[in-house]
Amino acid sequence: MRVRNVNKSGDKIELQMTPMIDIVFQLLVFFIMTFKIVAPEGDFSIKMPLASQSTGPPPVDLPPVTVRLRAAANGELSTIQFGQAALGRDFGLLREQIRQMIGDQAGPGGSDMEVELDCDYNLNYQYVIGAVTAVSGYITPDGHLAKLIEKIKFAPPRPEP
């Protein structure tokens, strides 16, 4: 429906644009002031009941694979130890070791195994997330997520140095 802005007498009726422009600019200023670029965040879900709460027979699954993360005095990662193998500071090597262990060459898929992270008290948390990333999966060349080990738990905390 077309709104005619000419009245019966033929005079042109002008719409008052000023209030609308005022409001529009106020809205624009509000959105500009509140705008903030936030990087998307994601979660690593972990189910960790308290050890003493477990009831029933002990689990018959394989014992968890231990990944030991040692820290330097300043909290930086010193070495990664996977079983008996020292892997330096390379989480890529850790991922390769995990892949070899669960044998995901036949096709990426989650494993029922469990990884226990044994970390020094003063280790910077970013390396824990690095280790969790390395053991839980990887991105395939075609951009898909290949899962490795999803069951992750922490070893009892080590004493503060």
């Binding site: 644009m17 609308m20 422009i21 529009v24 600019f25 809205l27 624009l28 959105f31 500009i32 509140t34 705008f35 903030k36 936030v38 990087a39 998307p40 965040e41 994601g42 979660d43 690593f44 879900s45 972990i46 189910k47 960790m48 009941p49 308290l50 993360l69 820290a71 909290g75 390379d90 989480f91 890529g92 970390c119 020094d120 008290y121 003063n122 280790l123 910077n124 948390y125 970013q126 390396y127 824990v128 997330i129 690095g130 969790v132 990333t133 390395a134 839980s136 999966g137 990887y138 991105i139 997520l145 922490f154 905390p157 080590r158 503060e160």
Partner: protein
Amino acid sequence: MRVTKRAKGAAFIEGDMTPMIDMTFQLIAFFMVLINFSEADQNQRIRLPSSELAKPPDAPVVSPITLQLTTAGTVITGVDEVPLAGVKPLLTREKQLLEATPDTDFTQATIIIRADRDAKTGRVQELIRACQEVGFVNFALRAKQEQSNW
């Protein structure tokens, strides 16, 4: 300097406002789409670790409780900032609230841990242990979605 809008013949010259209004509405639409009101649980002091596998959850987290651990070892939850030792009373209160809420199982609640990338891992573990002692079992370690350089 004043811009005179009247021509010599005294006729009123109107500027065409349409392109400006079009652009302004487009800008408003852009900012409206991108505005994020869910920043209440994000403290700028927390610099999250990054992970290439950190993907936003497909479904909303059930009864989320966000705990933010600073490098100093304090925990920010909502507007409160408490030392690590003071977390358990807060969590106990949250647990009581969840228990009092009908159709809510507090054991299904998820503790979202937003720890600073330089926080000590031992403190993160102490925080997790405090949550476990109250009765929470589901945890989500939050990380920034980014290409990793490991």
